[in-house]
Symmetry: C2
Subunit: 189 residues, 2 copies
Amino acid sequence: MARSITERTDIIPVLGEVFRERGFSGASLSEITLRTGLGKGSLYHFFPGGKEEMAKVVLDDVADWFETNVFAPLRNTDDPAAGIDQMFKASLLFFRSGRRVCLVGTFALDDTRDRFATAIQDYFAAWIRALTAALRRCGFANRAARAMAEDVVAGIQGALVLARSQDDPATFTRAIKRLQARTRSTPAA
Amino acid sequence: MARSITERTDIIPVLGEVFRERGFSGASLSEITLRTGLGKGSLYHFFPGGKEEMAKVVLDDVADWFETNVFAPLRNTDDPAAGIDQMFKASLLFFRSGRRVCLVGTFALDDTRDRFATAIQDYFAAWIRALTAALRRCGFANRAARAMAEDVVAGIQGALVLARSQDDPATFTRAIKRLQARTRSTPAA
DNA sequence: GTCTATAAAGCGATAGAC
DNA sequence: GTCTATCGCTTTATAGAC
């Protein structure tokens, strides 16, 4: 039986996991070779730019996933509350209830940020902007909506740190529940 | 003029900065050599355990700082509200208004966590426990205090991610202000 | 498209002179 | 206590056969 992975698109999720687990500088080509089952020759055939290109492609892939599964639903003007619920649902799913960290968040913390500055900046900016708009449509005042959006996005990122530090996914799911409750309550505040 | 750095305690803060900026795997001995102004011989004289010992010592140093400047004030039973205010003040100071990341948070996200699991777990557990107790003394119900404490600690960590992603310290200071306001309001909720 | 072999540089760590 | 020299290994990346 031949190897099933032959397409570039099949490699990207594996690359994502390695970068999430090891960080950019900690992800070695030897481990990527092992996890993908592909030799260096193949890897450089798919990604001539090496590790940096691999990470960039993964970042773009994550951005696409969030655009489709989070940002677009948030922009749905018909039912903004449903869009927000979808965001929390997608977050629980994507981050595997806190067992999986946010690649963009991991890259943001150390000097890896400087390598991918605009991708990292755009990801969070787009998230906050889309959520702010949805909250306004739900009745939040302009400034309150923006503040709440920053609180929610920061809250999710922080909950990932906390959950991993305690090695406890429940810490993440609890935090998500509370954030969701806040977005539903008192738009007048 | 002779070099001013000769004591181990003088090196620790520099090590902290390097680990914060590069992460554990990204922090190379050659950069540590450069930033401390000490050769490898001196470094291994102070830290026979190499990089791992350096990181452990920095983690312990951070834990000490927080014990003194954050956890102890939070445990002050006379004026719990003042303890909470001191926590926010110390956080703004320590994290340089979001220009400096949390070393423990950075270590928590990737596989560095497994190397220093208990130190990382204890740091956040101690923070949440001390803050929970202070909030209870301020009138929060048991469960609400714990929830709020988790929200605040996660909020600070997430705000660091966000501020760095946007390269904007104001994102951090704004988040701190909102978290502080939440700890002051409606203990009945 | 995938492999192995290899290059050149950097890594963490050690030895030993001073 | 600090240095330089060096070891052995891993790193990213390339070359070239198939």
